[in-house]
């Protein structure tokens, strides 16, 4: 579907999965607002988008700050127009230094919940008026298969992603009467800087992966757990985002779709 004339906001759109989502939507013609805490990387991605769709903007945003989120929503209207699509992708795996720790600390729990869950709610609330007023809008939340089942590896992260799925359902119910759909995507195993750190942690703490490099841990997990025997890519996630925001998905809401090569089937 062509997205010319549409406006998409991507939180955490400066790097990783969010960047690829932003580029995919720009490629279909959408104007993109990159809302990221990393100002420098956001500017680089925005410049890349300019070359594709010609329209982008950045707004340095910490999603945990309610006031900044409101300013982001206002800045989006001023620079690009009201948002048609909101992609809540910003996320972290723990408080700074989490990858060096073998156990979750209170700081890990707090910071992760603050960014992944409360941050998502902050941004959604900030964009709510411009979507409800026009009685249209599409919201896609990036959860994770980690949210599908409790696992001991990084419990604070898994719990935050389970909360994202729950928040998606609540928001979907709340906004349905305004013709706004809200869905979640649960990506599986993607080789990103985040996973590099997860891999290091496994190699250190889990006897089954002792002494492996992060990439070897990653490959072993694909072999053990992914029925398709292939890693997933940011492109896979971006293609699914593009589906959820299209007219083709206008009657789909409140769903969480695993993009995980069959890791979890529910």
């Amino acid at each position: 579907m062509k997205l010319t004339g549409k406006v998409a906001v991507v939180t955490g759109g400066a790097t990783g999965i969010g960047r690829v989502i932003a580029l995919k939507l720009a490629d279909r013609g959408a104007a993109i607002m990159i809302a990221d805490i990393n100002e420098e990387a956001a500017a680089v991605t925005a410049a890349e988008i300019e070359e594709i769709s010609g329209r982008s903007a950045t707004f340095t945003t910490d999603v945990t700050d309610v006031e900044t989120c409101r300013e982001l929503a206002a800045a989006t209207v001023d620079t690009l127009g009201p948002a048609d699509f909101l992609i809540n992708n910003a996320g972290i795996a723990g408080a700074p230094g989490w990858q060096e720790r073998s156990f979750s600390t209170e700081e890990d729990w707090k910071r992760t919940y603050q960014v992944n869950v409360i941050g998502m709610s902050n941004v959604t609330s900030a964009f709510r008026p411009q979507m409800t007023e026009r009685r249209s809008g599409r919201i896609v939340n990036i959860a994770s298969i980690a949210g599908r089942e409790g696992r001991p590896a990084i419990p604070h992260y898994s719990a935050s992603k389970a909360a994202v799925i729950s928040l998606t359902q609540a928001t979907a119910l709340e906004l349905a009467r305004f013709n706004i759909t809200v869905n979640a995507i649960c990506p599986g195993l993607l080789w990103t800087p985040m996973w590099e750190q997860v891999g290091d942690r496994y190699a250190r703490d889990n006897p089954a992966y002792k002494g492996m490099t992060a990439r070897q841990v990653f490959d072993a997990m694909i072999e053990e757990r992914i029925p398709m025997k292939k890693e997933q890519t940011p492109e896979d996630v971006a293609d699914t985002v593009a589906f959820f925001i299209s007219d083709d998905a206008k009657n789909i809401t409140g769903q969480a779709l695993n993009v995980d090569g069959g890791f979890f089937m529910r």
Binding site: P227, M228, T240, D248, D260, M265
Partner: protein, 266 residues
């Protein structure tokens, strides 16, 4: 277009949702085999697709018979030299006359399992060797939101649809290493001849709906159950099938996607 030069089989495509799926795949460039027991309306769908410029053939098929689904696959390969997509959509609400019974009888249990479950198994068994040898294939099974949660009434139908989801997972797992994706779509409330029968059943069996026309029963169900407040359409299901059967969903397998306006959230 996602399906240019590709060939799809859609079972139960003579009318209702199956017709919608066939038309959506054809609109995206696919040749389509219309596999149904009911010849006359099936031929109309064939003509409609041919008028749009892609290939279409009728293949008389009873999905409850393995020899018949074998023939259906052969028809696709003879006609077009390849088969890329199988959509197992044929389904029944019960044995003939089910709408006149208060609760399902043994024939209803048998009929729903024969068509809604075994029909899917037959279809998959007829294509799996071909698709495995080729290392490519997309299978989408039409289950139902009724399969997401057991409820009294026509429990046989719900049970058969829960089984359809389970069967999709089983073959997703089996076929994943061979480059074959198997997913299910769970439609919500769609006005088709099947729903007409359900409406008749409710207005004659259930006091709350006494004296209502089937369409009125349907509209009440929509307003009671659908958060988005509107009925779903065969095109909606066709669009979701077209996504799951495309290479854009290459990393999605074993999933059941509700196309139901938010009735159930999974």
């Amino acid at each position: 277009m996602d399906f240019e030069g590709k060939t799809a089989i859609v079972t139960g495509a003579a009318r209702g949702i199956g017709r919608g799926i066939a038309l959506e795949l054809a609109r995206r460039g696919s040749n389509v085999i219309i596999a149904d027991i009911d010849e006359e309306p099936a031929r109309e769908v064939v003509a409609e697709i041919q008028a749009g410029g892609t290939g279409a053939n009728y293949c008389e098929t009873d999905v409850t018979q393995q020899w018949s689904t074998d023939d259906m696959v052969e028809a696709a390969l003879e006609g077009y030299g390849q088969l890329d997509v199988l959509v197992n959509n044929a389904g029944v609400g019960g044995a003939p006359g089910f709408a006149t019974r208060k609760t399902p009888n043994i024939d209803d249990w048998q009929a729903t399992f024969d068509v809604n479950v075994y029909g899917i198994v037959n279809g998959i068994q007829s294509v799996e060797k071909y698709m495995t040898d080729r290392g490519y294939g997309k299978i989408v099974n039409i289950a139902s939101v009724a399969g997401r949660l057991g409820r009294p009434g026509f429990a046989s139908y719900g049970a058969s649809k829960a089984a359809a989801i389970n069967v999709s997972q089983a073959w997703a797992f089996k076929l994943a290493p061979h480059g074959i994706n198997v997913n299910a779509v769970c439609p919500g409330l769609i006005w088709t001849p099947l729903w007409q029968s359900i409406g008749e059943w409710r207005s004659s069996m259930d006091e709350q709906h006494a004296g209502m026309t089937p369409r009125q029963v349907f509209e009440r169900a929509v307003s009671d159950a659908v958060p988005l407040g509107r009925e779903q359409t065969p095109e909606d299901v066709g669009n979701a099938v077209a996504f799951l059967a495309s290479d854009r969903a290459r990393s999605i397998t074993g999933q059941a996607l509700n196309v139901d306006g938010g009735i159930r959230m999974n």
